[in-house]
């Protein structure tokens, strides 16, 4: 009779629940930036190899997402935004999330190696380790700079895409890494200002909780000021060009203006207009990253047509 009980579990996991473990929304950014890193790199891959490379980079990112959901199930259950995730809601057991995460980590790294090269596979393995162990298990609950550290893991995909083609890491790949790395803190802290979640109850030291909201506003401005030169400097590398330079100057000016406005405001002003500026900057930051990487892609197409670059 004990066997029949397993057939009648009230919340049996569906295929979509396992997909949710892979954080598909985060994956869309990974796919896009890895694809750009792969397409702007000198040389080229066969389309099948390129498709496989992007697929397994995305799968590796998904695997680290599943490991994150396994480890963070306790805090996900406390926070409103995350309590409906598959593990805290009981649809998928923590053990299944761990098993899926480990299995997909192994598959994605080995397959990326077979499809492309050892450097790309090594970078993917390090990214998974960094996100799951260094960020999720170690530093996320220890330091209010957790967003900065988590951002490093999210910054690797274009570098891995580049390495998949070239078999090495260059200044251009490092600049694409730096672009996402510097972009992540202002993006997430703008979100943290208007998403008043109970990170404190969950035991996660978010900057808004540990250092206050005024300090968070200053941090957004500082990181945006540091981001702008990285974005503009990329224009003067072999993957940049006039189109990218115009985009980087215009978008960075817009982001700086928004960060300046956030810094000038206080909570009374923000409450009065329902965090209008903070929400606008958050939305703009998404556009900023997609447009900058899109401009790199445009430059790559123009170079292929022999009309791009400097």
């Amino acid at each position: 009779m004990a066997d029949t009980q397993t057939f009648d579990e009230p919340h049996e996991a569906q295929f979509g629940d396992y997909l949710q473990l892979l954080k598909p929304r985060v994956m869309s950014l990974v796919v896009f930036t890895a694809l750009v890193g792969l397409l702007v790199a000198p040389g080229g891959l066969h389309p099948v190899e390129g498709f496989a490379a992007v697929l397994f980079i995305a799968l590796g990112a998904g695997a680290s997402g599943a490991l994150n959901m396994w480890w963070d199930a306790d805090i996900d259950a406390v926070m409103r935004r995350t309590k409906s995730r598959p593990v805290p809601s009981g649809r998928v057991s923590a053990g299944e999330a761990l098993g899926l995460g480990l299995a997909l980590s192994g598959i994605s790294v080995v397959m990326l190696w077979l499809a492309t090269n050892a450097v790309a596979a090594g970078l993917l393995a390090f990214t998974i380790f960094f996100y799951a162990v260094v960020y999720s298990m170690w530093l996320k609950r220890l330091t209010p700079q957790n967003i900065v550290i988590g951002g490093a893991a999210g910054a690797f995909p274009p570098m891995i895409g580049w390495a998949a083609v070239t078999g090495s890491v260059s200044v251009e790949a490092c600049l694409m890494f730096a672009l996402i790395f510097m972009w992540t803190p202002p993006h997430f802290w703008a979100l943290a200002l208007f998403m008043k979640e109970d990170y404190a109850n969950a035991g996660v030291p978010m900057l808004t909780v540990t250092h206050g909201r005024k300090s968070t506003r200053a941090h957004i401005l500082v990181y945006t000021v540091l981001l702008a030169p990285v974005a503009v400097a990329t224009a003067f590398t072999p993957i940049g060009g006039p189109v990218y330079l115009v985009a980087a100057l215009g978008l960075s000016a817009g982001f700086l203006r928004g960060a300046w406005q956030i810094w000038r405001r206080d909570e009374v002003m923000a409450e009065a207009d329902g965090y209008k500026v903070e929400k606008a900057v958050f939305r703009f930051s998404l556009l900023y990253l997609f447009a900058l990487f899109g401009a790199l892609l445009v430059e790559a197409v123009l170079r292929a047509l022999a009309v791009g670059g400097w």
Binding site: F7, F15, V48, A52, L114
Partner: protein, 63 residues
């Protein structure tokens, strides 16, 4: 003995099984396509297969 060929569980798990099946088939197709691409290009496969093949030797070694 009453024997029900399709348990209710099979219907409930159909979407999950279908998803896993599609993923596995896709994986097989991708590995096959990768194999075709790499074998067609043939770089790593061209080696000393049972007999010495002088034209494959690096330029420095052959001088």
């Amino acid at each position: 003995m009453a024997f029900k060929p399709e348990h209710e569980m099979h219907r409930r798990r159909f979407s999950r099984n279908l998803g896993v099946g599609v993923v596995l088939l896709g994986f097989v197709a991708l590995v096959f396509a990768l194999t075709v691409v790499k074998v067609t290009r043939g770089d790593p496969m061209a080696g000393y297969d049972h007999q010495v093949n002088p034209e494959l030797a690096p330029a420095e070694a052959s001088q």
